[in-house]
Structure formats: structure tokens, C-alpha cells
Symmetry: C6
Subunit: 70 residues, 6 copies
């Protein structure tokens, strides 16, 4: 598993906290594109992001460069 998650890891726990606290985040992709919004869920391969227009995206972990609270 390359980009998976394990609930005990700092990265997974921090994302879980962002979900719980409904934090506005910036999700920067390896293509350079930025998604802004809230993270709603995470699983082994993807995270769910809801943007300013209330549109939901399934974002693949392998495409994410970094996540940063705003």
C-alpha cells in the first residue's frame, strides 16, 4: 500500500481531526491544481472534499501533494 492510511498514524489522525472540526483546507495536487473546502471522509485510497460551491469530489491520495488548513 503506497498511499494508504492507518488510523494510528499522525497523518491519518490529523486528517480525521480536520474532518471532525470541519476545518477549511487547501488540498494541493501533484498537477499543481488546488482544491479548497472541507474534508468529509477518508479511506485507504481517497479523501472526500466538499468545495465552496458545495460540490463533492473523490480525490485520490496518490494525486495529493499536501493538505494545509486555511
Amino acid at each position: 500500500m503506497t498511499s494508504g492510511f492507518d488510523t494510528g498514524l499522525p497523518s491519518s489522525r490529523q486528517i480525521q481531526a480536520m474532518i471532525k472540526e470541519q476545518k477549511q483546507v487547501e488540498v494541493k495536487l501533484i498537477s499543481g491544481e488546488t482544491l479548497n473546502g472541507l474534508i468529509r471522509w477518508q479511506d485507504q485510497f481517497c479523501i472526500g472534499v466538499v468545495d465552496e460551491n458545495n460540490e463533492s469530489s473523490i480525490v485520490w491520495r496518490h494525486a495529493i501533494a499536501y493538505v494545509k488548513p486555511k
Copy 2:
């Protein structure tokens, strides 16, 4: 498995719902290219997309940045 799927995961179930409900989606690739159409099937490595011109593509999961209903 990096980009695989497991029918119990939120990401897999949401894509399965998009297939069943024949939702128009935007499939954004890590190259920046966008495919618009319906998702017809998914397997461990790929998803099948049918575009506006009724053309079918086999799209590799490793190349997908995100999928977003339209």
C-alpha cells in the same frame, strides 16, 4: 495495491452509486486533462468512462486526480 478498490470502502461505494445512478461526472486526470461522461464500471486498476460522443475509455486509477459529479 496502490490504487485498487475494495467494495466496502467509501470511495468504491460512491463510484458504484455513480455507476448505478448514471451520474454525469468530471474525471480530472493528474495530467490536467478532464474527461466528462458517465462511469460504466470499475475494477481494481481502472474505471470505464463513456463520454458525450458515446466513446468509451478505459481510464487507469493511477492517472486520476479526482472524480466530481456535475
Copy 3:
């Protein structure tokens, strides 16, 4: 295995059908480059493409974004 294949998967079976039926396909790479031609074979890591000039390429699955019949 990230980009492998399993003869039972829809993606593998569709590519196998393209090989058998000698379908003209477009192979779009994650770099944005497009290869046009026939798929001659597939294995776990690569597919073999013969282009319009009858030149054969060994194309790595990890570099493919999508395959689309023409």
C-alpha cells in the same frame, strides 16, 4: 501490484478484446502524449502498441492515462 492485470478483470478483458479484434486505439499517456495504433499484447507491467508506421513500442501501464478505441 499497482498497474498489473488479472485476466478476469473488466479492464484486462476489454484490452484482450482490442487485441483480438485488432481495434485502432488511442493510448493517452500521463505526460499528455498520444500513441495511435493497435495493441498486440499485454502483460502485468506493459502493453505492446504498433503504430501507423508499423513501429512497435513497449508501453508501461504506469504511464498510461487511458485507452480509447477510435
Copy 4:
């Protein structure tokens, strides 16, 4: 595991030293983007970076090209 870490590896130990010594580092991503700051933690999939504006990012290892002390 592609981009994981093992506390016994030179790469993991050097990053651990950067965390402990609070070294200013440059984190160069495969997209060409550079993050400047301190590394706060590392796990199997990610490292935590705090930048000049005291903003924290979760950076995926798969997106990192290199890390260089400044």
C-alpha cells in the same frame, strides 16, 4: 510500501535528526513547488512541515522529490 519509512534507514534517521534539531529545510515537490520550513514529524506516508507563516502542511512522501537543509 513505496515511500514508507523504517526508523533504521539513513533517510529516516536524517529526517528524524532534522526534526530534533529544528533545521530549516527546503522540501522540493515533484510538481516543482518548494515548501520552506521545519519538519515536525514523519510517518509512513507523510511528513509534517511548518512554514515561515507558521502554517502546517501534511506533505505526502510520494510527492516529494528531495529535502535539503538550508
Copy 5:
């Protein structure tokens, strides 16, 4: 193993034939860059390429889009 090789696979055998027959090849990378030369060896992660200037490179399989005889 994502980009590995297995001596029984068509892709590995074709590259082995290119090595044996000292075929001039074009190695196209996912970055768009092209290396021209002869393949000297292959292992699980890399291939060895000697270019027109008789310079040797260790090329990672994960960075290769395709290999094409010239």
C-alpha cells in the same frame, strides 16, 4: 512490485532481445525527455542505457513511458 520484471513476461523478453541484438532504441520518459541508445542490462527497478556519446545512464523503470526500437 510496480515496475518490476519477470523473465517470463513478454515485456522482459523483448527488452532482453533488444539487449542481445544491440538494437538502437528510443526510451521515452514520463517527463517527455527522450534517451537514445542501446539497452545494456535490466533489473527489477532499472534499465541501463548507453547513449550516442557512449555515456551510461541508470534509468528507473517508474520513469519510463515507452521503449521503441529505431
Copy 6:
């Protein structure tokens, strides 16, 4: 393991020889960027490069396209 190393592989042995002989090398990344310098160490995920300015970088194997002695 995608980009790992095994001391018995030609690629690992050649890099080990470059370390021992303190060869000037060019490390070309998949982003197109080039690092010039000496390789100091390698592990399963990374190699250590010291450049002309005597600055050390931890370079991830997954980001390397090729290594070429100068």
C-alpha cells in the same frame, strides 16, 4: 516495493560503485530538474546527494528518472 533496492541488483551495485569511487553524477528528476554532485549513500527509498556547494539532499528514488556519471 517499487523503487527499493537489493544489494545484488546491477542498479544497486552500480550506485554503490559511484558512492565508493566518489564519481560526479547527474541526477535527473521526473520533474525535469537536474541535481549535480556526488552520491554519498543509498537506502531502500532514497539516495543522498552532495552538490557543488557542498549541500546535502535526501532524494527520493520515486522522483529519479536517471543517474548518469559525468
